[in-house]
Symmetry: C3
Subunit: 497 residues, 3 copies
């Protein structure tokens, strides 16, 4: 990838023509503040368990490069994803809003080309805000937020995109390109499983030749090197590895790093994570080689909890991907930024990936459109001070299932949870998840007023959730309508106990 400086210059000249005075003023302001605007690098993994990195306590999986960054920065014990599965989690991350507020509570349709749908364009992405503020922006890896032109990364604030648009991908090019070509020869196109399609670069198909995790790391390095050509322009890179999401495919040499792991699933999973960690080393090396390491904020996390049946380990947390139990959406996370983010600190107050949009846009001194609603908050001051950024405030999670919903809310050390028919007979439980992250001791009877207050607040929040704009498969939609969902009168009832 090369930086599109011509394109940028054209954009700039247009601005100069249309609003000359204002542009000059902005440019001066930008220059003056440049030294304070860091590069921002988000490293996202996919379906990785809470305990699957060394810095979060993994005993069997080695992640030395992630661990070193974590040790030099601040780690988070209570960082929450916006949703316990992929699509809505990423939609929440990039928009800074709960996906329930804009009808994106479900993954996009299973159809290989996602049927013309995507996250509503009215929802501005953080990438657009950063791009508009002068950042050089890139997305690498998995997208999963819409495949039509208007939903494409290049139209949602990313100067560069390298990766694949749907929700996952096979890892070995030899294998997937052969299958793809074979099916094409049989006359298929729309019916081909998306995981087999060629990767792309800014809308043009490319022939990836490396194990995909390695290919994505390579492109991240390319992006970082291109960004270094003009250091007066900071960069924002959203590096969304699909590892260790299924299909479970690891390189033999990576699996060989784990002779002590006997379980085949766990061994494969470990190899997939290890490939990410290898890539992180290349990225850090590149940042250092290009003199950008000191001025780059690195934020690492997973998009939701792991799936133990595929080899993941959520450690002490109950539940797994898809649940509103802690194991479903509490994620390993660190911030790394020399001299700006505390070193070796563990941050225990609850935060949300919703907070990244306001945090990043504040760092970038970026102008957020007045009409833009944001559900999170700028947390950097709290991270630096070690204080609770939302004392007394709630972080929500609602995951719809067939005919009922799972709902949970965290406030300070407390969490209320109602998993509908899955658990405890549709009654609200209360856990002190600071002391009891495994959600074993229900304290609801001990603190009935607290439960009443938290449920009342969450119910008020729920009123502005809108009907889903799509479902992952047609059947989910039919069932949604058949069951007259959302049945929130059941979810928010306190009377069933």
């Amino acid at each position: 990838m090369k930086k599109l400086s011509m394109k940028k210059m054209c954009m700039l000249s247009t601005l100069l023509v249309t609003t000359f005075g204002a542009t000059i003023a902005m440019a001066n302001e930008g220059q003056a503040k440049h030294a304070e605007r860091p590069n921002i690098l988000v490293i996202l993994t996919d379906d990785m368990g809470y305990a699957d990195v060394g810095f979060n306590g993994s005993q069997d999986i080695k992640t030395p490069n992630l661990d070193q960054l974590a040790a030099e920065g601040t780690t988070f014990s209570s960082a929450y994803n916006v949703h316990p599965f992929c699509g809505p989690s990423r939609a929440g991350l990039l928009t800074g809003r709960y996906p329930h507020k804009f009808g994106s509570q479900f993954n996009l349709p299973r159809s290989s080309r996602s049927g013309g749908l995507g996250i509503p364009v009215e929802e501005t992405y953080m990438s657009k805000v950063l791009q508009d503020s002068g950042y050089y922006t890139g997305a690498i890896g998995k997208w999963h937020l819409g495949e039509e032109a208007q939903y494409h990364p290049n139209n949602r604030g990313f100067d560069e995109f390298y990766g694949f648009l749907n929700g996952g991908h096979d890892y070995f090019p030899d294998k997937f390109s052969k299958q793809y070509n074979s099916q094409r020869k049989q006359g298929l196109d729309h019916a081909i499983f998306g995981y087999l399609r060629p990767l792309e670069h800014n809308g043009k198909e490319v022939e990836e030749t490396e194990y995909v995790t390695d290919g994505l790391s390579r492109e991240a390095v390319n992006f970082i090197e291109a960004a270094a050509e003009d250091k007066s322009t900071p960069f924002f890179l959203y590096l969304a590895y699909n590892a260790p999401h299924s299909p479970m495919q690891a390189k033999a040499e990576d699996m060989a790093q784990f002779p002590n792991i006997k379980d085949k699933k766990r061994k494969t999973y470990a190899g997939m994570v290890y490939a990410v960690d290898r890539g992180v080393k290349r990225i850090v090396d590149s940042l250092k080689a290009t003199g950008q390491f000191e001025n780059t904020l690195i934020v690492f996390f997973s998009d939701n909890g792991g799936k133990p049946n595929l080899g993941a380990d959520n450690g002490p947390l109950r539940g797994r991907k898809g649940d509103v139990l802690e194991g479903g959406y509490r994620t390993p996370m660190f911030f790394h930024w020399p001299n700006k983010v505390p070193v070796g600190r563990k941050f225990n107050h609850p935060i949300s990936t919703l907070d990244l949009f306001p945090t990043f846009s504040h760092l970038a001194n970026a102008k957020v459109p007045k009409s833009k609603k944001l559900d999170g908050k700028d947390i950097l001051p709290s991270i630096q001070a070690g204080t609770n950024p939302r004392a007394g405030e709630m972080i929500y999670a609602v995951r719809h299932r067939l005919g009922f919903s799972e709902a949970a809310a965290r406030k300070d050390n407390w969490k209320i949870i109602n998993r509908g028919e899955l658990d405890n007979n549709n009654q609200w439980q209360l856990f002190d998840v600071d002391k009891d992250p495994s959600e074993t001791k229900d304290l609801a009877e001990k603190h009935p007023l607290l439960v009443r207050e938290m449920v009342a607040e969450m119910e008020a929040w729920s009123w502005t959730n809108i009907q889903p704009k799509w479902f992952h498969i047609h059947q989910e939609g039919t069932q949604w309508r058949e069951q007259s969902m959302p049945r929130f009168h059941e979810t928010f009832s306190l009377s069933t106990k």
Copy 2:
């Protein structure tokens, strides 16, 4: 309350900068016509029965001050609310449209903070149109149209607001502030019943010290006095008493006015109405003292019918609050405006509170946005001439219940009504409500073509009703979807007889 003249001056200077020529033109026009622009005072009561004021025939409740205004003005025997219960009735009044057209057919969510919902901001209120035309505008009392910033009276055309945002309130400050503070100490906020919360003035909590009806009357007087400081600016005051809505709480001294009433409920109810009447005296006195009485149009009415089980009396009318029977939405009403509105006249043609928006905006010579849809009409010329303002035209009422709807339409002396499962086995009845306000003699078989025509017209009207944007409680929404509502094929069927 003090008039915000600074704020107004700022607004004016902005206008001058942006559209200099146009503003000058408007100002001249405004000055020339000023003498003709009256103050407008709406006095609204809550859940008051058709027969619960002296001027409408009450034998036991005294309302001497209302009665005097009524005697000096024109009373209406067939004035209809837009809806037989609170929220949609007020939404219809302020927007001038049937709430079924913008999804506001139900009261806002029960949740104490209404969950971020409110009457859609696209629906311009009469207050905004009057404010934009140069009126000094105030809302005092109950709001019930949305509690978030964008739905707040101060953002819907009211310079001043004093009262409470939700659908009702306790009356004795000693009692409700004690309960409120106690619950706050227990850690509650969202779970506190809204009736106990502090009142507010322009978004800031205040400590009301008087019986609430008296407090509202006091603030009305304050507003009228503030308005008198600059008589070149006419005022619009929307005084929405919550009396005599539940909770049934009257002052002992007011109840003592009714020694002949033995029934405790009726006695309390009478005391609550009497407090309103006392307030009206203070208001009239203030209008006179400030020299504004002659130039003020006073319009008095209730928001829907009374609840006999709480002590109300709908007189000869069948039904009660919530029904589309006459007792549900025909309201006592008078217009008072010296030398402009006929004195001692009883106006018997049907009118609707939908008519107030166009009537007031015409009086104010206000500019109604071109895109603004209005379902009513300017009725002042008809009132002055004693003619039917909508000969041959319909006034509708639709109230949704669990799995069916009540529907009614008035045209001239005729009313068709179908109460679904509640009455007459889902068949349309026809009453001559001019002669038979008690709806006792069904004339449908005698005038089958008239019924056919009126039902056909109402069915056509119903096609543009949209799905509700919210429900009062989640359960209502689930049931709405479970029942595949609205089941208008049943409502508008003529074949079941």
Copy 3:
């Protein structure tokens, strides 16, 4: 009808004032290209069967004038309507989009005045694009796309409208005006069946005195003559005969043309078609007399398949109006344009009436708004070259029924079809409709991959279909919701076989 030259001049002067430079440029461009901009005449019949014109093989019905035009032009063996019944077919034609994309999958409400609904105004009609490009535009006959002001032809791009707004009409003025007047005298208005109402000219009721088909032909001639007054302005005429739609009413003299037809229904039907053909002669004569025949593109077709129970004949095609079988939406069609469209050619590649919008607007050199989505393509180059305009691309049809949908897609010679509960137990069939237009030999088992690919592509297309904005009768809507429609998980399932 007279051409409203004054109105046009006013519009032009407005343009000149507002955007002087641009208008001059356009005018020059327009003059330069004028010679190339043809008049466009669409002649549409209603519910006419595939085999009910001579040029498509009718043995008993004579259509000599249509046949001559067909012989001098290009006929189409595989032209498809957008939908197998009236409203959505016409909505698709005029908007150039599948009506499923803007909620217009059903006919407008049965109510005589259509209840304030119509094709969403956001969907620009071809008439508007042509009008904006300088065409003189007229609509004559049946509208059926909304009766309120904003949906009226005069507000959707037609300078002239003569006809009726609802979905059909009686043919004999003596009869229908008598019935109408009688019902009016009885006090009816909204309850009068729309087929009896007076015709209108640009919003004003007129007293039509001729058999309606003859009246429409007369007005077409008037329009053509008015257009000839200023030949520098090309015309677009949308002549939508309601014949041979029910009620089945033919002139005795027209039926007398078919002494060999003994079946009364068929004889009446034949007379109704013959009246259209007589009208076409008058129109052709007028075009010739005014010197416009050479520069006019004539496109003839029906809006959907015929109803054999009313006398129509769909020839070899299976099914009838309403079905997604070929007999439901494959239509007779010809293009006639001297020296521009091949003479005596039969065009066998599949095309859609969706293609007319882009084809016409290209011929008119008209500017299509950038935001305008079009589902068809400019097919004139393909017609001239005899090539397939959409090789490998799909034409869709989805018709919703009670609790299921019929779905079909044509690609090249292939058609997949799933009629839900109506046929073959909700399984997809595959026909080579080029060779087997009667859809008799299911080849699905022979070409499973082709079926899989086509169904996958159609399923992706279906994801952006939105919920209907209205239903023809309320009951259809209630049932739609009761059945949790659309049940596309059943429609697009491949697993039931």
